[in-house]
């Protein structure tokens, strides 16, 4: 049953979909940012689960001379960059939300649309 080895990816995809649901279904902008951060963390988890090797260990070469099996370090490096970029965009999004609150008086998507004159 090849599918039994895939359940990790499916669990991560379920988390991704919950994050996506919060992002598109909730009106409050700060709640959307929280959903976005859940989505980002689950994408990172997806890549890290690709890198894992059965019976492997963390990719740090020990002092003793044993030949160990290391988990793949390349996705770890890419995900470090991804976390950094994620926090940068989150900080910028939160700054924008603060300015939106000051300009419009609300951070709910429906009210923002009404104030701007678009249909909700």
């Amino acid at each position: 049953m090849h599918w039994l080895g895939l359940w990790h990816y499916w669990a991560v995809i379920i988390l991704m979909m919950i994050g996506l649901y919060i992002l598109i279904a909730r009106d409050n902008l700060v709640k959307k940012v929280m959903g976005l951060s859940i989505f980002q963390v689950s994408v990172i988890m997806f890549y890290v689960s690709i890198a894992k090797i059965e019976g492997g260990t963390a990719p740090i070469i020990p002092e003793s001379g044993n030949q160990l099996v290391y988990s793949n370090p390349l996705p770890h490096v890419l995900m470090l960059t991804a976390i950094v970029v994620g926090i940068s965009t989150t900080a910028l999004a939160l700054a924008l939300i603060v300015r939106i609150q000051e300009a419009y008086g609300t951070v709910e998507d429906g009210e923002l649309n009404e104030i701007d004159g678009h249909s909700p």
Binding site: M17, V41, I44, I61, V107
Partner: protein, 355 residues
């Protein structure tokens, strides 16, 4: 064979995510987002990604939660009730089904023969192992003779890939932090317009809240505990910064921990004390100097005749020492920039309230 702890952690993560989706109290949802990040850091450790776990715990459970809480104090504290719509469920269901269909071709979890483990990663691991385990002095030299790739000779393979083999990517990452901080400064450093709405414009229903900050005399336990531990936080940040070559750590994690120490000082002792201890001009110079340090190492190697960010040239007698020196300087640049960036963002978000 899934470990029981993996199943338990996934169930915790699932219930936390569902709780965040359903909660209307945004402060509680913000704390749960921090808990989500911390649980995922535990899951990363089980999946052998210790550097990623370290960074996720410091960033997600640390500064991200602080930023979201600062934003919530300036905007609404609860979200409006909404009728449940069907369309998002349909969209999410279709997307999820498509993604699951896409994973059916992937190798099983933990498969040692998967394609992703060959080629580049195998070469990196093989070069670094040969460099670490040879005993003679010119070990790294002999590791180079067989390959065109240059061996670094550090125990932490992730740091050597991050700072040396993939140094350009990390340079772009530091530039991203720099740009985001400039964006936040442009948005939040100016003065608020007179006609702007504040969070008190929306009546919340429980507006009986006292807006007076607590006097210092009343906060004696918090003051003593934080004064005792902030030096240790800074020392731990320095340890993480310079120990990143030998264990999990590095510039980014150290910068975030350092910024967390400064933010703790600011939260307990007040923003004005914090601004006099760490002025904003110092932070701006710090952001710029970290980036210049990183780019400067690259330019020095350009001027010495090698490629951009090629650390071999930094020590002509022993290229391995050049690599170590280059990685040290580069990680220092990353750490300085990240510290000052996170603290500047906190200044921007927290200082917006009382103008």
């Amino acid at each position: 064979m899934p470990l029981p702890i993996e199943i338990v952690l996934f169930l915790f993560l699932l219930s936390t995510a569902i709780a965040i989706a359903r909660l209307e109290d945004l402060f509680a949802a913000a704390m749960l987002t921090g808990i989500f990040s911390l649980l995922s850091a535990g899951l990363f450790t089980i999946m052998d990604a210790v550097d990623v776990a370290f960074t996720e715990a410091a960033v997600g459970a640390g500064v991200a939660t602080v930023f979201i809480l600062c934003t919530l104090s300036l905007t609404a504290k609860r979200e409006y009730q909404q009728p449940t719509k069907v369309l998002p469920f349909i969209v999410v269901g279709i997307t999820g089904a498509a993604l699951i269909y896409g994973t059916l071709d992937m190798p099983a979890y933990g498969d040692p023969d998967a394609v992703t483990h060959r080629h580049l990663s195998a070469k990196f691991i093989e070069i670094e192992e040969r460099a670490m385990f040879s005993q003679n002095e010119h070990a790294v030299e002999s590791a180079r003779h067989g390959n065109e790739e240059k061996a670094v000779g550090l125990p932490n393979i992730v740091t050597s890939i991050l700072a040396s083999y993939r140094g350009y990517d990390t340079f772009g990452e530091v530039t991203v932090i720099f740009t985001a901080t400039i964006g936040v400064m442009l948005l939040l450093r100016g003065r608020r317009h007179k006609k702007s709405f504040t969070s008190q414009s929306r009546s919340d229903g429980n507006d009986v809240v006292k807006e007076q900050p607590m006097r210092m005399r009343e906060k004696i336990i918090l003051r003593v505990v934080s004064k005792a531990f902030i030096p240790f936080i800074f020392m731990f940040a320095l340890y993480v910064q310079f120990h990143g070559d030998f264990g999990p750590g590095g510039g980014f994690q150290a910068g975030v921990i350092f910024a967390a120490g400064i933010i703790l000082y600011g939260v307990i002792f007040g923003l004005d004390t914090m601004r006099s201890a760490v002025p904003e001009r110092v932070l701006v110079y710090g952001i710029i100097s970290g980036l210049i340090l990183y780019g400067g190492v690259g330019i020095v190697s350009l001027l010495s005749g090698a490629n951009f960010l090629d650390y071999d040239i930094l020590d002509t007698h022993n290229p391995a020492h050049g690599q170590h020196l280059g990685i040290l300087l580069v990680e220092l640049g990353v750490g300085i920039t990240v510290t000052c960036a996170m603290t500047t963002i906190f200044y921007g978000l927290a200082g917006r309230g009382k103008q």
